[in-house]
């Protein structure tokens, strides 16, 4: 099995087919979207492939070390930041093809007009543990 991160972007991914901002949807369409995501996760738990799913708030802060004994320096949020993560799903699957298949399903989540968003998701493999036998 291999773990993959399916990343949803607020910003930074190519434009989806059904590109209507969520605040322009009807409340029913939002509910249908949320329900779709929950059902998808529940189904993956049932197939033994679900690991984690989290959503992130769009507002973030940049932080850095500023020297011994000094408080952290914060900055942002930056309107110009190109890449903004909206959330993720982590799956544990037999093959890369399966990861693509599941990401594609997730991308079909309904949006405006109840039609699939066709949103672009980023699929990133996890680093694994090193194998015992190498030579």
């Amino acid at each position: 099995m291999a773990k993959y991160l399916l990343l949803k972007h607020y910003r930074g991914a190519p434009t989806p087919v059904n590109d209507v901002p969520m605040d322009q949807w009807t409340p029913e369409e939002i509910s249908a979207h949320v329900q779709f995501m929950q059902d998808w996760a529940a189904r993956l738990e049932g197939t033994g492939e679900f690991v984690d799913g989290q959503a992130l708030s769009p507002e973030g802060t940049f932080v850095r070390y500023d020297g011994e004994g000094r408080p952290p320096v914060t900055d942002g949020p930056f309107a110009e930041t190109k890449d903004l993560i909206a959330g993720w799903m982590v799956i544990d699957v037999e093959t890369y093809e399966r990861a693509l298949e599941l990401a594609s399903e997730l991308s079909a989540a309904p949006g405006a007009g109840g039609k699939p968003i066709h949103e672009w998701l980023e699929v990133r493999p996890f680093m694994t543990e090193p194998p015992t036998i190498t030579e």
């Binding site: 037999e94 680093m127 694994t128 015992t132 030579e135």
Partner: protein
Amino acid sequence: MDEVLLRTLTPTVIGILGRRGADFAAAEDAVQDALVEAVRVWPDDPPQDPKGWLVTVAWRKFLDATRADTSRQRREVRAEGEPMPGPGEVADDTLQLYFLCAHPSLTPASAVALTLRAVGGLTTRQIAQAYLVPEATMAQRISRAKRTVSGVRLNQPGDVATVLRVLYLVFNEGYSGDVDLAAEAIRLTRQLAAMINHEEVAGLLALMLLHHARRPARTGPGGRLVPLAEQDRSRWNTSMIAEGVDVLQTALARDRLGEFQAQAAIAALHADARTVEETDWVQIVEWYDELVRLTDSPVARLNRAVAVGEADGPRAGLAALAELDPALPRHAAAAAYLHERDGDPVTAARLYAEAARAAPNLPERDHLTRQAARLNAQLRS
């Protein structure tokens, strides 16, 4: 509490419940419940007869779970008069469980999970922790696996090769959680080897022992990878190596070579060298030739090319490598190593950096990055 004893008894108790008429899925669930209870109760109140305790509790769990009262009474009556199975029957039952849990209809990951639970006696929680997934996910993976094999009737021996594949996966891709999966894989393979006289079972056991023996030397501080050539060989476990060599020799004497025996032979040749300079690379190349012939595996070809580089010089190794697909995992790392030995640190540094970017795990990536950094520092000075 002796957790290994508890685990060892698991397949036996599943077998006993099976003989009393429980189907596999129900018997396995009941024994898992009994195990969880044993973990809870035994530390304060250890039983006189652990097996008897497990059988009694598991049987009660099974009866509680089955609702049909009439058949339940019949079963109860029948079970009471029934003697415990003898050692031969226990071994038969356990062997059948190995085959069932590694049944070809299962995906490798399902087979691994089911084997660890039903044969290995690990709890779902332990297996989930070991593979870094939520317990609910692992529970589903196991129950799906049980549904998949529910119709399987095992009245003839299964395929040993599928069992070995599963045990190899547990050993090689085991994560490091609470449970030492490599040690668990060895225990299960050792138990299998005691029940079935098969040269590849012995070959796999030897392979595991020979690699496990080097484990203390394989990582440095902070999980840093120490390559074979740089390992402190005094930290290798010599008695485990001796056992591995012994098991391998007995297997090879049967003159039915298989891939695990060939891999074990390569590991044995490494283990046999007191210093890296004493390594018999010519023989190692011969064993890789066998391995390539047996498996036709591109990974074996890649490792062979590296061994050729040691036996016949880096140019020969690079020539062997040139015949392989550059997209193979670790191709760039092998090429980097051979180029450095060939006196071309510029190419080697570039390839090490490329290999680091493609590395599938952190210790390997860090190791390759350090190699590139070492060469770049040399080139600057």
